[in-house]
Symmetry: C2
Subunit: 219 residues, 2 copies
């Protein structure tokens, strides 16, 4: 019997499909070989009083297992990774380095990328939007350049794939509609290399299957 439950949206619009953060958790569970069930939420339900008692900020995903409730995709991936040598090496130094990359993905690389997507969602054409966008694009480029410089000819951020690569890949994916990653071929190749893992493919297919099964009626 499956004991792990991960919250996920029943359906989201196409621009968010394949990006919602339960993808990170599904991927980690796949890499760790752990089965899970979905706890599906309708749009808006994540902002309900009831859900917020588990997740104070009304975000997806949460993780439930034997009475333990966790949230924050980074923390959940860390929790799963501690049971999986694929995600976190046993050697303490290698483990600490992998953890460094987990935080780098979420606290250094993701924030300017999220600002950029928020600006772009406004779809504002005025000069001021362009001005702000330019500054944020500069910040994103700076992070991506630092990342590419570090990677150099490496396949992964450290000697082998870890939970750091998992989170970094899901952060780079947020830029899929633009060409900022594509402008740096080594970074594009890195993302493709990580996304080629069977665990990622299964995780993505599972998220997309839920959306496909719950598509709103066309009219």
């Amino acid at each position: 019997m499956t004991k792990i439950k991960v919250s996920a949206f029943r359906w989201v619009p196409p621009f968010a499909q394949g990006l919602v953060r339960d993808l990170r958790v599904r991927w980690a569970l796949e890499e760790a070989g752990l089965a899970y069930e979905e706890r599906q939420l309708g749009l808006g339900e994540h902002k309900s009083e009831r859900y917020r008692q588990h997740q104070p900020f009304g975000q997806i995903p949460t993780y439930e297992e034997d009475g333990l409730v966790l949230f924050e995709s980074g923390a959940i991936v860390m929790h799963i990774a501690q049971r999986s040598e694929t995600l976190l090496p046993l050697d303490p130094s290698a483990r600490a380095r992998a953890t460094t990359w987990m935080f780098a993905a979420l606290n250094t690389v993701e924030p300017p990328i999220m600002f950029l997507t928020q600006i772009d969602q406004q779809q504002s054409d005025d000069e001021s939007a362009k001005y702000w966008r330019e500054g944020v694009v500069g910040a994103v480029k700076d992070r991506l350049a630092g990342l590419a410089e570090w990677l150099g000819g490496r396949d992964y951020l450290e000697d082998k794939f870890t939970a750091g690569d998992l989170l970094m890949t899901t952060v780079l994916r947020i830029l899929r509609r633009g060409d900022l990653v594509r402008q740096i071929p080594s970074l594009e190749a890195y993302q493709a290399r990580c996304e080629a893992r069977p665990g990622f493919q299964r995780a993505l297919a599972a998220q997309m299957a839920t959306f496909a099964g719950n598509s709103p009626p066309q009219d």
Copy 2:
């Protein structure tokens, strides 16, 4: 002999004093009872080729110990916390909950707060700046409300002080020039409660002492 080295700025302007992220690491080391040395960097030195070989994004702080180099304040605090029951409880579920709050501080609460400070640093008076600022203030208020709602009458995010509170406190501090925290008395009291800890006071004094000792000449 001290083996731990933490990078820190020799001096920064007053608006950043008491906020630079080595404060988080100093505080964690104080709570864990571990001695450390500073590796002082002149302004701009953190963007040098040499420093970037350790820290690909040119940020403060880095952490060095017996040949291991870590960066990202969150990852370093995690690394230290794993040796300190004060920062991370031994019980696995309590540990996972504390980790959840560490990521919530850095990936959910900090990003809109940083965006707000970046907008305010531009000191732009035009209408567009006001428009963007309003949206970001809304996002910050939403996070703070979620946090305050969770805290309710509690002293800490969980049963006792953990590394989650440590990081959350340093995130709330970034808002010290505005009144967004002050508008929520329970949150202001929470921040004050955490900052009253002797470990925080020693960490802050240490960062400020370095700045005081390296103040630029007045003319």
